[in-house]
């Protein structure tokens, strides 16, 4: 039978005893306290007894025999990493297009695309802040997806966040794309904000409430405008090639505001529901093609110049999530259902979109999921200044996913997607195999 080395346990015992002694509140000297409490002596004896007992417990095994195995006492434990370094992680996402049609559907037109490598650097800054950086490395660009510092302990139960971050317009937008249940963000987020969802820079403040007896959280953000990659129905990159005639923004055109109310209820130890409401209002950049005269400023081989304008738009969102995961079978069985509706209020009209998705865990490593998408869009974007906007149409899609996790750190997802309705293309089917792998301590997303 082996024992903890004596010097080590003595060191621990002494340290704990010292820490313990140092933890006692400093009491005034008796000379300054003419009437000390009658039980002072007894209290001191009690403290001494506790200190002795703790010292003894940490010094030896006090009758419980130590099993015969090699081990190290805490003071001798080697540190396998330098704990002051930030947590560094990387998530790789490879897409393989297995679609039957001739043309590949991936962003670059290839059959295999390393769509994103997400580098995460996360650490506690000091007793007051933590910092999170997520750098997205894409085939043709490197971008800061999120970079923010969170103030963890403000007065009044407040928490603040400063930097660039994904925003709580609904729920799914908060999760990075390689980690969502499906391969792509829902159509509605892609239509309104682009392939990477809704992110912006600014300042956020949140507070938890329980006035009605259940969990509620209010979040408010002041942002540097609302970033949209394209307008409704506009193809990606369509406006980028044109000459942009810029104009100076006033103060209000440089700002946007977002609020989110989160309500959460436990239905049982296994089931819970969440209902959220969001609203955002702010300045959105629009590039309006100018009337074109080929004889003057508009050669036929170039797109017409576009005028940069700013208009106030609002977004409204509602999200509902129901989860079921029985505690005793939590690693084998779960179900999640999430539905979100987002409306975009523009000067022309109110645009609607949304999705519903569900995922059922079949076993420890296999999941089955499905999503239905719908969003209003324009079939052809031929907007010119002063022209009547075209009537929006519904773009719909349905998709199913089979996911396999070899371990917590790798994932294969086979997705079959189909465009539906009048706007469906001639090749409406898409088959995608997504491979995701993670290294390093990547912090999980909030529940």
């Amino acid at each position: 039978m082996s024992h903890i080395p004596g010097t080590a346990v003595r060191r621990i015992g002494a340290l704990v005893a010292l820490a313990f002694a140092g933890a006692w509140p400093v009491r005034p000297a008796h000379a300054q306290d003419p009437k000390p409490p009658a039980d002072t002596a007894a209290a001191d004896t009690t403290k001494d007894a506790l200190a002795r007992e703790i010292d003894r417990l940490l010094r030896d095994t006090a009758g419980v025999p130590l099993p015969d195995y090699p081990r190290a006492a805490p003071a001798q434990q080697p540190r396998t990493f330098q704990s002051l370094n930030p947590d560094i992680s990387a998530i790789g996402e490879l897409l393989a297009d297995l679609s039957p049609q001739r043309a590949a559907t991936l962003e670059d037109g290839s059959r295999f695309l390393m769509r994103e490598t997400e580098l995460g650097i996360q650490a506690i800054v000091d007793p007051f802040f933590r910092a999170d950086f997520f750098i997205g490395v894409h085939p043709e660009e490197v971008e800061v997806e999120e970079a923010y510092v969170t103030a963890l302990a403000l007065p009044g139960g407040l928490q603040a966040r400063v930097g660039r971050f994904h925003l709580p317009l609904g729920k799914i937008n908060l999760t990075h794309r390689p980690e969502i249940l499906t391969v792509d963000y829902p159509l509605v987020l892609r239509e309104y904000f682009g392939e990477e969802g809704f992110a912006s820079s600014g300042l956020g403040l949140s507070r938890i409430f329980t006035p009605l007896g259940f969990f509620q959280e209010v979040q408010v953000y002041a942002l540097s405008g609302i970033e949209r990659e394209e307008e409704h129905g506009e193809e990606e990159g369509e406006a980028e090639e044109a000459e942009v005639i810029e104009r100076q923004r006033d103060v209000f055109e440089q700002l946007a505001f977002l609020g989110h109310l989160r309500n959460y209820w436990d239905l049982s130890s296994a089931a819970n529901v969440e209902l959220g409401f969001s609203a955002a209002v702010g300045s959105v950049e629009r590039l309006v093609p100018l009337p074109c005269d080929p004889s003057e400023n508009c050669p036929l081989d170039q797109p017409p110049p576009v005028q940069q304008t700013f208009e106030t738009q609002a977004f409204y969102g509602a999200d509902f999530t129901m989860r079921w995961r029985p505690p005793q079978r939590s690693i084998y069985r779960s179900f999640a259902w999430n539905t979100e509706v987002v409306a975009n209020d523009t000067p022309e009209q109110l645009w609607w979109g949304g999705f519903t998705q569900a995922q059922w865990q079949l076993s420890r490593r296999w999941y089955l999921g499905a999503r239905f998408d719908a969003v209003q869009t324009l079939e052809e974007h031929e907007e010119t200044e002063g022209a009547e906007p075209a009537e929006p149409e519904w773009r719909r899609a349905a998709s199913g996913y089979l996911t396999f996790f070899p371990s917590e750190f790798s994932r294969f997802k086979l997705g079959v997607e189909r465009e539906l309705g009048a706007l469906a293309s001639d090749d409406p089917w898409r088959v995608i195999l997504q491979t995701t792998f993670a290294i390093g301590p990547h912090r999980p997303h909030a529940f």
């Binding site: 419980v64 015969d68 396998t80 939590s330 084998y332």
Partner: protein, 309 residues
């Protein structure tokens, strides 16, 4: 001069109200939130009526995988003490909850934060570089140390120290409770040693490395695990090799936590001629295991009964 009875009543009520309002905060029980039911059970033993304890994980739940539900944030927001096992057992959920709790008292480094791995005797501390090729390994050591009674006493001692620090008026109670707990645990451990002595060296298999502390205390020889590597489900070829190894060693029992699927362990036990034992690894994992000592009592009794057959 006489005072009217109604005024006296009013004055009495006012004084009573003022007195109640002036009661020192120390009289309120310390609000303790623990990550596991085992820590909660020991906290209740030491704190008695001076603490109000809540565990985040259930006793029937795998403590590696707990959902960080918003309702738990409310418990942590008001807590005076947060106690965790550490060694990255709760890495997937506890940091998220702590960050959202907005409670600096219990954040890492706060006065009410407790990580018991700082005083526990810890096994399986890698003495070399580790990688995920070894499965979901804990790079700081095996975190299931509460299943060794020696560590149960260390947990109790640290709770007593922290409670006394935060609530000095209760020092006498905490001391008495600690000494009583240690006396009962020592007596029980002596009884368990005696009960297990005839079976010392018996070969057994466990599902996960969570049973290492308990089985080494019990003097059993671990000849394998159902999981080929921590967190990795077994393949058929691995199970065939394990069954063969168990037959050669004469393994008597296959021990499984209640939250794992028993189908594969049952098959292995049947083929290897061993007994399948579904044992709670946390307080509340079985109806009889409702405190720390009764958890170990239950496990020791079931194990010795299975081997005796």
């Amino acid at each position: 001069m006489t005072t009217k009875p109604s005024k006296i009543k009013t004055l009495t009520v006012a004084i009573a109200l003022l007195t109640a309002a002036a009661t020192p905060l120390a009289a309120d029980p310390l609000k303790v939130v623990t990550t596991t039911t085992d820590l909660a059970a020991i906290a209740r033993e030491i704190g008695g009526s001076r603490v109000r304890v809540k565990s985040i994980a259930l006793g029937t739940q795998d403590p590696h995988f707990v959902e960080p539900k918003p309702s738990l944030i409310l418990d942590l927001r008001d807590a005076d003490v947060f106690a965790e096992i550490g060694l990255q057992l709760e890495i997937g959920w506890a940091p998220l909850l702590l960050d959202q709790a907005r409670n600096p008292r219990i954040s890492r480094g706060g006065r009410g934060y407790l990580d018991f791995s700082e005083v526990a005797t810890v096994l399986d501390i890698p003495m070399r570089r580790v990688t995920r090729a070894e499965g979901d390994i804990h790079p700081l050591g095996n975190p299931h140390y509460w299943l060794g009674p020696e560590n149960g006493k260390r947990i109790a001692a640290l709770f007593a120290q922290k409670f006394a620090e935060l609530d000095p008026d209760g020092t006498r109670e905490y001391t008495n409770h600690l000494m009583e707990f240690v006396r009962r645990l020592d007596a029980a451990a002596a009884r368990w040693r005696e009960q297990l002595e005839p079976y010392r060296g018996t070969p057994v298999v466990a599902y996960h490395t969570s049973w290492k502390y308990f089985l080494l205390f019990a003097g059993m020889e671990i000849v394998g695990y159902i999981e080929p590597k921590p967190g990795i489900p077994p393949s058929p070829s691995y199970l065939a090799e394990l069954i063969e190894r168990m037959r050669r060693a004469g393994a008597k029992a296959v021990i499984v936590d209640p939250f794992y699927d028993a189908k594969v362990p049952r098959l292995v036990a049947e083929r290897a001629g061993a007994t399948l034992l579904i044992l709670p690894s946390s307080v509340g994992g079985a109806a009889e295991a409702d405190d720390y000592i009764s958890l170990l009592e239950y496990d020791v009794t079931k194990l010795s009964d299975a081997i005796r057959r």
